[in-house]
Each structure stands twice: as C-alpha cells, then as structure tokens.
Symmetry: none
Subunit: 380 residues, 2 copies
C-alpha cells in the first residue's frame, strides 16, 4: 500500500463509519415510525374512521418539502423518499384484502400443502374463502376423513412421487370430485389420474416458482383430462387470481417443457458450473460488467439461489429430457472444428441462418431487453 493510499484509507474510514451509523439510526427511526403508524391504524379502525386519507398524505409531503429546503436537501428527493414510505404503510394494510372466491366454501384438499407450491395455492384458496384441508405424509392416516365431500383434490408433491400419490389418494375421492395436479410434467400424471379416478381430471402446470405472492400475469398451462366443464370454476379462479391460462395436450406440453424448462435450466447450469470449474474471479468479473452482462450473469446466479433437488427433478424428469440434453451437448461438439480452424465465415453463416429463423422475435427481444436494461440502469 502506498503512502497516499494509506492516507486515503485513514481519512475515508471514519467517514464511512459515520455514514453506516447514520444509516442504522435511520433504520431504527423507520422501525419506530412503523410501530406508531400501526397504532394510529389500530385506533382509527377501533373508531371506524377511514384509515387513509390522500389529503393527509399530501399535507405530510408539503411539510417535508419545506423542511427539506431548510436542511439543504432536494425537496423532490424527499418527496420520492416519503412516497416510498407512505406506499409501504398502505401496502401493509391492504395486503390482506383482494381475492374473491368463485366457489367460496368449496372444500379443497391440497396434497403436499406444506410444500412451497402447495403452500402457495393453499394460501390463495384460504384468502379467497375456500375451506382448505392439507394432506401430507404425516397425516396420511386421516386421508379418508380429509377427502370427505371435497370438491377438488390438488396434488402438489415432488415429480417423482406424483404418480404414486395419485394412485394412493384416488380410492378415497368422492366420484364427482375434481382431481388435479401441479406437476411440471403432464403425460404420466394425467394418464395416472385418468386411470385411478373416474371423475373430472385436470392437469395443471404453473409456470412460475413458489416464491410469488401474487399470480398477476403468470402463465398456467392446463391439459384437460376428463369432463372439462366440471373444472371450469377452478380455471376461472386461477384467472381471477391474475394468471393467464394456456390450454394444451399432455404431449405438446411435455415436448415444449423439455425446451422451456429442462434445456434452459441445464444450459444455465452448465454455464455456471463451467465458471466455477475454471475458478473464474467472479467479483472482479462483475466489476467489468455492463448492465446487460450483469443481467445475464444474474440469470445464472438466480438458478443457483434456488433448490437443487427441485432442479434435479425438472432436469432428470423423463428419459426424453435426458436424451434432449445429451443431444444438446453433442450438438455443441459440432462447433469444435469451427473454433479449431478459426472459421469465422462459418460462424457468420450459421449466425445469420439462426437470425432468420428467430425472425421478428429478435427485434422484439432487442426492444424488450433494452427497456429492461434501462430500468436496471435507472435503479442501480
């Protein structure tokens, strides 16, 4: 460390410490503020007084803008900041509401309802006024009771257990109950539901992770099995929760998912694994990263923040998937020769062929991703 550098460190550390200490104080004050606001809300509710009044919020903003100027703070900045604080108080109060039920009081059995995805659906059903029962390995001895008069049995268990659980639960189901599953493959589970249960059957695959708090604009694929009319209330409920429903056959679904899920996740896994294998200097690499690379590397990092066994189930789900992934790896070895012979022209030809195949989606993607990168830049 040079003398100049040491001098800099000596001067900057107390300043940084001071900023950290200010941030801690701000944080405690915000926590205290939250407590006080909750008391006000409680008091208002007890006196049946409307909790929010836009005019009051504007008063607060006006006062803070004036105070800011006395402190040499930008009033617009202070307003932005308090809009975030006010929005947070409001969100905390409204979170619980929403969610109308299509068939409130209908009885729903969620099999695997303590898992992440099962838990999400159980919560959504409860919020919408359904009578939700949860069946897990622990209370399997009560399966018969729990199935009594249910309107829907929703199977949400790991892929490799789905078929067995369907077989086991079917004998307990009322004949007219809707049997549905949330598995990310559809051929086997729907086939099993149709052969084990005589009533309505619906395959369902939510194309999102279980960490969402809201289904708004998320896609759910349904593959109808039997008596579609009897499952319409359920599909309608999914739509009311904000989901977009795409209908498909089990064959088409599974084929597309090989690409959308298995291949994509596997390619991402391979990229991350290679970076790790080579002991790439991740943090230095990030310092060299423009927003777009940060976003792309973020997509890789994102995968590894999630559950390894979930992804192993997705990737290894069927022999078809494993064959596709092998095909992918082997297809890459076709490019070795191009690299060895430094054949740029071949690369350009292939590139343009693919570009043509992507067609208008490329330009669309360019626009969408540019929009997102701008958002990323604005924010970070």
């Amino acid at each position: 460390m040079t003398k100049d550098n040491k001098n800099f460190q000596e001067q900057i550390i107390p300043l940084r410490d001071e900023i950290d200490s200010i941030d801690s104080k701000i944080l405690s004050l915000l926590a205290r503020r939250q407590t006080q606001v909750e008391k006000v809300v409680g008091l208002k509710k007890a006196h049946s007084i409307p909790v929010y009044h836009p005019a009051r919020e504007e008063d607060l903003i006006s006062r803070l803008r004036i105070q800011s100027q006395n402190h040499d703070l930008d009033p617009d900045f202070m307003e932005d900041l308090y809009r975030v604080i006010i929005r947070q108080s409001r969100v905390k109060q409204t979170q619980k509401m929403e969610h109308k039920g299509v068939r409130p009081n209908a009885k729903i059995l969620v099999i695997g309802g303590t898992g992440q995805m099962g838990g999400l659906f159980a919560t959504l059903f409860i919020k919408s006024g359904y009578a939700v029962r949860i069946l897990t390995e622990q209370n399997w001895n009560q399966a018969s009771d729990l199935c009594h008069e249910i309107d829907l049995a929703l199977v949400s268990v790991p892929i490799e257990k789905t078929v067995r659980v369907i077989e086991k639960i079917s004998p307990f189901l009322p004949p007219e109950a809707l049997l549905a599953d949330l598995t990310s493959i559809k051929k086997e589970p729907v086939h099993q539901m149709l052969s084990s249960h005589g009533g309505p059957v619906l395959g369902v695959h939510p194309l999102f992770g279980p960490t969402l708090s809201c289904l708004d604009k998320q896609i759910i694929v349904i593959t109808p099995g039997r008596d579609k009319t009897s499952s319409e209330w359920f599909t309608e409920q999914l739509t009311l929760w904000g989901a977009v429903i795409v209908e498909s056959t089990t064959d088409e679904h599974d084929e597309i998912m090989e690409i959308v899920q298995a291949l994509r996740h596997f390619a991402t896994f391979c990229f991350g694994e290679f970076l790790c294998h080579r002991r790439t200097k991740l943090s230095r690499t990030l310092e060299f990263s423009s927003p777009i690379y940060r976003l792309e590397l973020g997509m890789v990092g994102r995968l590894f923040a999630q559950d390894s066994s979930l992804y192993s189930e997705i990737i290894f789900a069927t022999p078809e998937r494993r064959a596709l992934l092998k095909e992918f790896i082997l297809s890459l070895t076709r490019h070795v020769d191009m690299l060895e012979t430094n054949n740029k022209q071949l690369f350009i030809d292939q590139f343009e062929h693919v570009a043509q195949w992507f067609g208008p989606f490329s330009d669309q993607a360019m626009r969408e991703s540019t929009f997102l990168i701008d958002k990323l830049i604005e924010r970070f």
Copy 2:
C-alpha cells in the same frame, strides 16, 4: 364533538406528534448523511479514485436488508428507500457535469469516426466543446493534415484492423499526443501503440454497444500504457459523461473479457443455434413462457438481432478465446455420463458446489432479476 371523538383525538394526537418528530429526525439524519457523502466524494476525487461503484452500492443494500429484518421492517421496502437515497447522491454529483468539457477546444481525431462506436464518441466530444476531426479510409490521404496539433487520436476500427491502423497512423502523430483505442481486446493494440508511438498511450474498452445516447453508469475499462498523467483529462471526461472507470492491466482485461464477452456470447449463440437446428416451435414456446423464460429467451434473440460480423470478431478475436470456447464445449461433455446414468445425486452435488461458489451473488441476482421481471410484467 362526541365523547368518543374527543377520546379518539386525545389518543391520536400524541401518536401523530411522535410520528412528526420521527420524520424531523430522519430528515436531519439525511442531511447529515448528504454532507458525509460529499466529503467522501471530495476525498475520492482528490485521490483520483472512481466515485461510484455499483458493486459497493449492492453491498450496502445487502447489509441494510439484513438489518431491516432485525427491526421487523420489510427488506424490500428498505431496499426501495435506499435506492432513492443512493440515486440522489449519484444524481447530485453528475447533474452539473454532463456535457462539461474537461479540456474544451482540445483537438480530437477519431479514426473510424463514422463507425457506430467512433460516431458515438465523436458526438459526445462535440457536445462537450471539443474540436473533433474524423479520419476514415475515404480521407486517409489527408491523415497528415488531420493529425496536425491533435491532443488525442482515438482509434475506433474493427478488431482485425486495429493493429494495422495504429501502425499506419502513428508516424503522423505529434509526439506529445495521447494515442488511445476502443478495441475490445487490449494486449495486442496497447502493445502496438507502445511500439509505434513514443508519447502517452491508453487502452480503452467501453463495455457497451454503440446504440446508447448517454454513458450513465456504463462501465469503461482502461489499461494505461505510458504516461498515465497525460491521459487523466480524458479519463476524467469519461467520468463526467457518467461512465464508471475500471482500471486493469491488458492481461487481466483480456482474460476477463474471454469470459464476459467471448464465452457468454458463444454460449448464447450455441443455445440459439440448437433451438434453430431442432426446429423448435418458437412462437408456441413463447406462449408457454413465464416472464422469466421470455426474458431469458429474449437475451438469446437479442444476440441474433445484432451484427454477425461484430460477434464473429469478438468470439474469434484471439487463439486464447478460441481455446477457452473449445474447453467450454469439452467440459460439457463431462455431463453426458451423468445424464446417461440418470445420476441426480451427482447433479445435486455439483449444483450445491456451484451455489456455494456463487455465494451472496446468487441472492443478489435473485432480487435484481425479480425486480426486472416485475417491471416486465408491469409493462407487457
């Protein structure tokens, strides 16, 4: 006023007063924070240290998120709030600067100034009051005149022409002129600049495409060649335009770029090429796509919307790059056995090993990409 109402007023007033007093304290703390931040900025400038670094901001956010939980505050709320605070500090520093010229009227020769990247820099220099001259193949016969008394010669030509152009232009340069290039590799060009030109030399690599209108928060790598002091006005100008400067050696730069550019683009190319090769039904696949997959596929589509020869230059730039890409392909073949033997456990072990290697970046990436997906949902 009813008795109940009076009672309510008596109870609510102290709560409101307390909230007001908390808000005043927060405001003073923010003012103090602003003062401290200004001191840090002053100190950094005095020591020629880049003022902002996105990675440092992410560290702050991560720490505050953890602290929030201890205070029963929503971490997302705290993050939103500090994004506003951080943005404000940054805006305050860059506001005044933007188009200010560090050395207005200095004479700049942009070699390749009608190309995309050269054109972007020419425009930026012109806006900041520099005297800009453009040299291309068409007016090469005027090279000697155009080089007269220039302060900076900026080489912005395709990778494969860079070395030759440097050789050709150097004899015309005033001995004290700064010679810099914008090539995405640095070892060869900087080596060539040092041997052809006796004056100050700086390698520059802007980590973004030429379609930007503003450099705000974009990263530019510099690899000093000779007489760094004489190039400081140029680096300062880049900072004033909003760019984040990262300093490196030519070796380190090229090594990291093998990953950040070559490997990343090549992996994306391979994925797109495989989808095309298999004749995947792209549009149906998109109907089955949750926002995250749409975003990921968009990153692939985006590549193919761009210039094939630019990417061929990036990917095939050096023998080291081609060797790395070959290594990548061969490293994937290691996974064939795991797929053939359906070895989920091996996948899980590798996955967790990589997750550990990614460390806190994974969670950060999860948050960043979730934020973007929300933006995507809001918009589309």
